[in-house]
């Protein structure tokens, strides 16, 4: 695919990140080859809100920051967990 082509990613936001982002989900177009870590940097740049340690999930599985996204992937940025 042409690197200029955009693929569509379904992004899910939870907890403190959902509150900061002001929505619980959104569709984002990114260039082919974009990694999940790069998408997080793009959507949540370092700034006044400060940074959180996050885990990445792609299609409901934890994934490394350098995982390359595919068209239609569902991505979640997982802030520190509080279950239990």
């Amino acid at each position: 695919m042409d690197p200029a082509t955009l693929i569509q990613i379904d992004v899910r936001w939870f907890a403190v990140l959902r509150e900061r982002r002001g929505c619980d989900s959104e569709k984002v177009g990114v260039p082919v080859g974009t990694t999940v870590g790069a998408l997080y940097e793009k959507l949540n740049p370092p700034g006044v809100a400060g940074r959180l340690p996050v885990l990445y999930a792609i299609n409901h599985n934890y994934a490394a920051a350098d995982s390359v996204l595919c068209d239609g992937d569902e991505v979640a940025f997982v802030p520190p967990l509080g279950g239990g």
């Binding site: 939870f14 907890a15 400060g50 340690p53 979640a76 802030p79 967990l81 279950g83 239990g84």
Partner: protein
């Protein structure tokens, strides 16, 4: 009550039903862990909790933990249930019921399951105070430190 071995629920958890679900004639031990809403955090009064759950991922991860328990402790039967939404003081937020042939496996499997849940299942907790609220993270080694604030 669902007969599934991993689920989340907006309704109160039925501890006795979960124990009955794992009980088996081949098991000589049934052990139930119940996590409940505490009235304070380090002395600061807590009035309740709100749990937010990424259900599409949380349930499969809980199911995966159940599978790990079954693989690691042969003959063990486990069910994991977690609440969603608002909980008042004293309510059960999580129930892990384990049945095993012997007590040692039941204790070990129960501990394994709750620690794995806290480390891996995408659930978040907001503590509610009389004068505000805060997202409260579990202690754990699972988060990358290089990205710390």
């Amino acid at each position: 009550m669902s007969a599934s071995r991993a689920f989340v629920s907006a309704a109160p958890l039925d501890v006795a039903a979960l124990e009955a679900q794992v009980a088996s004639d081949s098991c000589g031990a049934v052990l139930t862990f119940v996590g409940t809403v505490r009235d304070n955090f380090d002395g600061r009064p807590v009035s309740g909790l709100d749990y937010e759950v990424y259900a599409e991922m949380a349930v499969p991860v809980m199911e995966q933990i159940c599978g790990e328990v079954a693989a690691q402790w042969p003959g063990a039967r486990v069910v994991i249930a977690h609440r969603t939404g608002h909980l008042d003081l004293g309510e059960a937020s999580v129930v892990i019921a384990v049945a095993a042939p012997h007590r040692g496996a039941a204790y070990d499997a129960s501990r394994y399951a709750i620690e794995a849940l806290k480390d891996r299942v995408p659930i978040w907790k907001k503590e509610l105070y009389s004068d505000g609220s805060t997202w409260k993270a579990n202690a754990g080694p699972h988060l990358p430190s290089e990205d710390a604030p």
